[in-house]
């Protein structure tokens, strides 16, 4: 029986050794891949930083109001952030590739799913970013237009437009990521519906007089008389 144990042990050790020998080159390969991945990621990050600086990406994100958000969150500027994100994503990608080389079976699927997930992540980030840009642009445009056209409470109008657009954007991003799709959808529908309902009630009941004045002003002669008291700027 002792010979059997030794033999088994031997066998096991040999197996292990074989497995190790099998693994070692792979491990080496993985390390090489990881290191080269780091190098590539670094280069990409630098290149991206330059490109973003040339295309004045920071200014765009300033416009979007993203810079302000990031500042509040004590994060670096958006071009820096983006470069770093790209760096990490690329490096992680290489590492994952390396791990794949290791040949651990179960991992393949996760790896595949990871790679499938990446583009959607990027798209979602894009959506959020441009949603922020749009939100600040449109809310500002609404604010200016309302102020110049003498609409009542322009700030509220601007803020509500911004909120709506951001909510839209975030829901689209989540949908893109595939996280809690239905929950988000339902929550959004409820919130939006409630908001609209609330506004109508508030406006219709509480703002009845205001509504009447508003309509009168838009459609009746007062506007004309007012116009006559105005001076021509040119």
């Amino acid at each position: 029986m002792w010979e059997m144990i030794v033999g088994e042990l031997d066998h096991a050790i040999q197996e292990f050794a074989r497995g190790f020998a099998h693994l070692l080159p792979r491990l080496l390969a993985m390390l090489i891949i990881a290191l080269s991945g780091w190098a590539v990621a670094y280069v990409l990050k630098a290149a991206l930083r330059v490109i973003l600086r040339i295309t004045k990406f920071d200014k765009l994100s300033d416009n979007a109001g993203a810079t302000q958000l990031l500042n509040k969150a004590a994060l670096p500027s958006s071009s820096e952030l983006l470069s770093r994100v790209v760096f990490w994503v690329v490096w992680l990608g290489f590492i994952v590739l390396g791990v794949q080389v290791l040949g651990i079976v179960g991992l393949q699927e996760y790896i595949a799913r990871f790679f499938l997930f990446l583009p959607r992540l990027f798209v979602a980030l894009f959506i959020v970013f441009f949603g922020l840009v749009a939100a600040s642009f449109f809310s500002r445009a609404a604010l200016l237009a309302a102020v110049n056209a003498e609409f009542p409470s322009p700030r509220i109008l601007a803020t509500s437009i911004r909120t709506i657009i951001i909510v839209f954007t975030v829901s689209m991003a989540f949908e893109q990521l595939g996280l809690a799709e239905r929950t988000i959808l339902v929550a959004f529908a409820i919130a939006f519906g409630a908001l609209m309902l609330g506004l109508s009630i508030a406006f219709g009941v509480g703002g009845r007089d205001l509504a009447r004045q508003f309509l009168e002003r838009r459609f009746l002669k007062e506007k004309e008389e007012q116009k006559q008291d105005e001076l021509s700027p040119l």
């Binding site: 300033d62 110049n148 008291d229």
Partner: protein, 427 residues
Amino acid sequence: MTGGRLDERSVLNDDFLRQLISVGEVDLLVGVPTHNSARTIGQTVQAIRVGLLKYFPRERVVIVNADGGSKDSTREVIAAASINDPQHPSGVYALRTLHCISTVYGGEPATEIAMHTILAAAELLRAKACAIVSPETTSIAPDWIERLLRPVYRDDFDLVTPVYGRHKFDGLLLRNLVYPMTRALYAQRVREPYAVEFAFSGRLGSHLMEQQVWDHGAGGVGTEMRVTLSAMTGEYRLCQSFLGTKQHLDRGSADLVPAMRQTVGTLFWSLEPNFQLWSADRGTESVPTFGPEYELNVEPIRVNRKRLHQLFTSGVAELEPVLKSILSAQTLAEVQAIATLPEDDFRYPHELWVKTAYEFAASYHKSVINRDHIIQALAPLYRGKVYTFLLENRDASGAQVEANVEALCLTFERLKPYLLDLWNARE
């Protein structure tokens, strides 16, 4: 041929081109852009015809109408006015055929396209002098044609801008912002840099064609302003000519923002490409002016001042987040301070206004936010300035108003270095 010339072909449709061929070379061209102008166009065309026949009887002349697709009877009225008869109702005899041609340009009715059409016609017909006349001015008279064209045709000037006998409260955007700022930066005292009646030489016309002054995409929306600025920034001889009193179809303050886009917006836009020119330190020169001395009309008129004040204060309050990105902290604080003043004590001092304007210009240059939004944000502040102007000049005579405007101009000139600092700073 540059890309600009290729565009020329698309603004001249076949029918119009045929009309141009028939007209042939001319000495004088009068362009009239119209859109649903049937109310006033008849009077305008007659005034032009009489003016041309009376003051330029031997010259080859043509009236070119660029119409934006009028739905009313504008084109019929013009066609009727172009019938050539030897005995004109006014008794002025026509030595030559007086041509009057008309075309409808495609797309949206826009002064830019009308201007492009007229410039193209002037270039093809090799007109020595061209005048543009607006059908909206109801006080046009035949001698306006002489006053516009003579300096170009006989005295060799390149651009004639008008001077009107205005009411003291008319054209305040020009008087409080566009004129002083243009004067301070471009060093020429042109009273009406935005003009709907003006005249230019063939030489300047070709230059304007090259510059594509009608081109929306380049950012400058106001063609009229661009014409003046092009002449000022090139080596062209400018002059002014007194035309008469200005009466036009009513326009209310709802048109303020578009007016600002076309004037202030164009001015701001022009600063970048012409930096070398306006940043140089030179005093302003006055521009030769023809015509009699004029007095501002000081008839009292009804103005809703309260509304202006209200718009200013509410604008300053509501637009705070926007103004924060445009103005410096100190200027914003000062503006907010005066917004708290009671109505009767309200005053927007010259210096603060100038700083406001310059900071807006610098922010426009840096595109801190969308440029169109910057212009829109200026509107409520401008209203505050107008309110001050109305208060200060309520009982003023014409001469006093002129003195006030002159003081504002000098403040603009004095603070020009401030703009230069801002311009170069945030680099």
